[in-house]
Symmetry: C2
Amino acid sequence: MSIRESGVFLDVITSKENPSIKLYTKLSGSKKERKNSRMYVLEGFRLIQDAIKENSAVRQIFFTESAYDKYYSELSQVDLKEVKVLIISNELGIRISCTEKPQGIFAVCDIPEPESLEKSLDAKGKYVVLHQLQDPGNLGMIIRTADAVGVDGVILSESCELYSPKVIRSTMGSVFRVKIFENCDIDNIFRCFDKHGIKSYAAVVDKNADDLRTCDFDGGCAVIIGNEGNGLPSDVSERCTKRITIKMTGHINSLNAAMATGIIMWEMSGK
Amino acid sequence: MSIRESGVFLDVITSKENPSIKLYTKLSGSKKERKNSRMYVLEGFRLIQDAIKENSAVRQIFFTESAYDKYYSELSQVDLKEVKVLIISNELGIRISCTEKPQGIFAVCDIPEPESLEKSLDAKGKYVVLHQLQDPGNLGMIIRTADAVGVDGVILSESCELYSPKVIRSTMGSVFRVKIFENCDIDNIFRCFDKHGIKSYAAVVDKNADDLRTCDFDGGCAVIIGNEGNGLPSDVSERCTKRITIKMTGHINSLNAAMATGIIMWEMSGK
């Protein structure tokens, strides 16, 4: 079985023992594998198209036979020249998919080299620091919201892994556009903020903290968000310039962490 | 096998063929069953405790043997007098659970009688209408946020089912506190708004619509949110008093529907 691609007939991969497929499934299922190889996976047309458009380092793309007919011509041929294209059977596509309705298009990408926080920070920028955030869906949603409201960078410290398929999927492509600093040390973050004169605001649930609505977010500043269940450790919040809170007028005083971060970014970007 | 409860020894249910367990699993898995019987299920201590605290009509509670020792005494004995308590084996608890780490406590509740929108609306209230919203996680998160920021009611029209386990779980108990109007007809919603003088704001993605940040949300008003992918149908947005939009300053002009609704509710509740 073969399929024609740029004048060349490609064999259709049917076995999950194929080395490329084995790599894909390992990267899809194992954080350790992603960490060691510095590669991760994408699934779905829109996400892969965004990755190519934003010059992410896409190394391999697998199309199922059906997906090849449907999506291949829509991808930019210029940008695809560095990419190895492989065709897999529809059955194999269903097998390696992590979604309920597989589109049959998968990719393997390089994880970008981490940028230096010290060199990359803008003294007038607006940043979000996520410290010990654990839920992949929350992380994805925060990155997507940061992309929409226009935050200058998302800084991760002891948080869940950025390149897990669930986080990547829930960013809806924003992971390729937002500047993200992975695996940052909290001490180093504060050191860099000091160096650049960036003020830090600890987001806390405490009615005595400053009201988010009256916070001016003047000049370079960063909001520090903590863990879903426990919030920020006090030794972190105490190091911040200010402590801010979302004053709630309803029956409960807690919000989902992504929602809270979204509302804070919304206020920050409007000032 | 039996367990002592209020001086009575209760048999431990071990079979999934037990009629009460069969009812639980049917209600857990089938929208049709929930609709026909007007009952739904809860899982987890915190959710069930909230339901009891907020006087929701809890009919039966199942504890696994381990959960009974751990949680029973924490539930209010006064409020439990109308509730049938059953003990099930730990194995059966794992079997009927929908979560990864089951706590071993489950309940069957009556779906409350729908309230009349016409009679219940407050002319000075702040409302959110969800029209054709489809994602259970989004619906749950919106209800939780409405509970925190203090919205007077969430009105559902052609949206996903409120009493599915996923929606209930993601409300984190807010479903028992927020006034929710289920299965409302969009024509009737507009009729009731007119009658009570409640202004309606269509949330749209359109740079020519009014900027959310400058919207005054004066007096009684409602924001109408549409479907995740398609937004509001134009025949609905055109019937609204105003069209409002979240002006985005980042790279994309779309937000997750729950995030967008949360930001709008946040603005509405602050005015």
